[in-house]
């Protein structure tokens, strides 16, 4: 069966160019970047080249503002807890949003249990925050604002630039989880004005198990683990050189093809949205129609449940995802869709297609061909329709 992968926000295939780099640093140039011999020097160079490649993609002033981590979750934890611990004598209040990734929400929950206070700012029906609501949430003891750049479920882009400008007025630091945005849209830390930003390798055709945290110079940060001198002691542990070099290559690739990738995906995305909306009755687009990632299609199909849609699609060779409770491992529907004001039934009926650079127009057309019959079959079984 020909398989169509449309779950690129979950993970992407590793690009062959990236795989070649990873392969090289596993099989040939496998040295420890801390060693003084030739092997070590080659690894060190690869590490620093990758740091420059990441810095270059996100417009960082200096590569030294980047720390490599094990991925988005670690970057989020290090940013939020690291700043909270470093600034705890200045305040204990942190602002985030109701639709953050669990890495951010649960890091905040952990801090709350330790005595920090967390305010979760809500979003509108299209999943967008109002910067003025963030301003209203700022208190005298606010030390950090953590708001994602692009939402992982509905693809809504947040007004980070405006939020960062407000934060600056009050001397509050800003972290953004840009895991879904980097490699999809142009991201520039100077233009955004953020102090910290999380990135992940495997969301942009890089390997899993590697990520980065941008930390603007002079941003206070306390490490979460203790060990050697690696990554300026802020993230000790022997560096994952192969993964990091791969992430560097993925950033280089993204830089090269970002404009084309963006245009290409936008065209596919809008074709898929239009196709689904015109072929299936009682379907709603979740998320913002314009302030949206170029690869995200998230729809709620009234009267049926997400997991059964995914199983049916999978039998046709189509891989997608859902905000239904059944697929999240929890008993609740997506916290993001609920925060946007969707009812439980409608949230359970959500399906997310996230496109990638390898998808073709035929793939989109096949989804538009297959989905209506799946919906019809499940609706015939449902007591809600």
């Amino acid at each position: 069966m020909r398989r169509i992968y449309m779950d690129h926000s979950a993970t992407t295939p590793v690009h062959p160019r990236v795989a070649a780099v990873v392969n090289r640093f596993m099989l040939s140039d496998y040295g420890n970047a801390s060693s003084v011999h030739h092997f070590g020097k080659v690894a060190r160079e690869a590490l620093e080249d990758a740091r420059s490649q990441v810095a270059d993609l996100i417009g960082a002033d200096s590569p030294s503002e980047l720390l490599f981590t094990s991925g988005g979750t670690e970057s989020d934890n290090l940013a939020i807890k690291g700043v909270a611990y470093a600034r705890r004598d200045q305040g204990r209040h942190i602002i985030t949003s109701a639709i953050e990734h669990q890495a951010v929400l649960h890091a905040c929950d952990a801090l709350e249990a330790e005595g920090f206070e967390i305010t979760k700012v809500g979003v509108d029906g299209q999943g967008r925050l109002d910067p003025e609501a963030v301003r209203d949430a700022i208190r005298g003891d606010t030390i950090l604002i953590s708001i994602m750049l692009a939402n992982n479920e509905v693809g809504t882009l947040q007004p980070i630039e405006e939020i960062a400008a407000i934060a600056k007025e009050y001397d509050v630091l800003v972290h953004t989880d840009a895991v879904q945005a980097v490699g999809q849209i142009s991201v520039d830390v100077e233009a955004l004005g953020v102090d910290l930003m999380s990135l992940s390798g495997h969301k942009m055709y890089g390997p899993k198990g590697v990520g980065a945290l941008y930390v603007r110079r002079k941003t206070p940060l306390q490490p979460l683990q203790n060990g050697g001198h690696h990554e300026r002691r802020l993230r000790p542990g022997t560096e994952n050189v192969a993964g990091i070099a791969g992430m560097g290559e993925a950033c280089l690739l993204a830089k090269e093809e970002l404009a084309i990738r963006n245009q290409y995906l936008l065209r596919l995305r809008d074709r898929l949205i239009d196709g689904i909306m015109s072929e299936i009755p009682k379907v709603y687009l979740n998320g913002h129609p314009d302030h949206r990632l170029p690869n995200n299609v998230n729809v709620s199909i009234v009267g049926i449940e997400g997991e059964s849609i995914l199983l049916s699609l999978d039998m046709k060779g189509i891989a997608a995802s859902s905000g239904s409770a059944c697929t999240s491992g929890s008993l609740e529907a997506s916290h993001c869709l609920l925060a946007m004001g969707l009812t439980h039934e409608v949230a359970h009926g959500s399906v997310r297609f996230t496109l990638g650079r390898d998808n073709r127009q035929e793939d989109v057309d096949e989804v538009i061909r297959e989905l209506p019959a799946i919906v019809e079959r499940l609706r015939a079984m449902s007591p809600l329709s």
Binding site: E305, L311, L331, S382, P383, L384
Partner: protein
């Protein structure tokens, strides 16, 4: 994550639909957890002669509904009452752990349909008395 039996019942569910003028009907579940099951039964001489379902839910919810309607057909009311959610799950070769509670409600729906059948029967008897 699902057994072949679950996938078979999900793909080709038995007894989907409604029974016109059922002798009993019952609904369980709630929208918060994402599963709603509606079960209809036809009863003759205290024996379940037909059962149908309509389900909003995941693969496990649909498969358990389907297999439960198969299990109950031909059973007496008393036997039908003894069908448990666990037996329904076992008939499918088991369910993933997280599905045992949220999506394994078919026996509950069936028991509600039986309750409803007995209420109607009682009401009829009182009406004729």
């Amino acid at each position: 994550m699902y057994t072949e039996a679950v996938m078979e019942h999900f793909t080709n569910p038995k007894n989907v639909g409604e029974i016109e003028n059922p002798d009993g009907e019952g609904q369980v579940g709630n929208p918060t957890c994402g599963d709603i099951m509606k079960m209809y039964i036809k009863v003759e001489d205290d024996q379940v002669v037909d059962a149908k379902f309509k389900t909003f839910g995941c693969g496990a919810a649909i498969a358990t509904s389907s297999v439960a309607t198969e299990m109950v057909k031909g059973k007496t009311i008393e036997e039908a009452r003894n069908i448990t959610n666990r037996q329904v799950a076992e008939a499918l070769g088991g369910l993933p752990g997280n599905k045992m509670h949220c999506s394994n409600l078919a026996a509950d729906a069936l028991h509600k349909a039986i309750d409803n059948y007995e209420e109607r029967k009682k009401a009829r008897e009182e009406g004729t008395a």
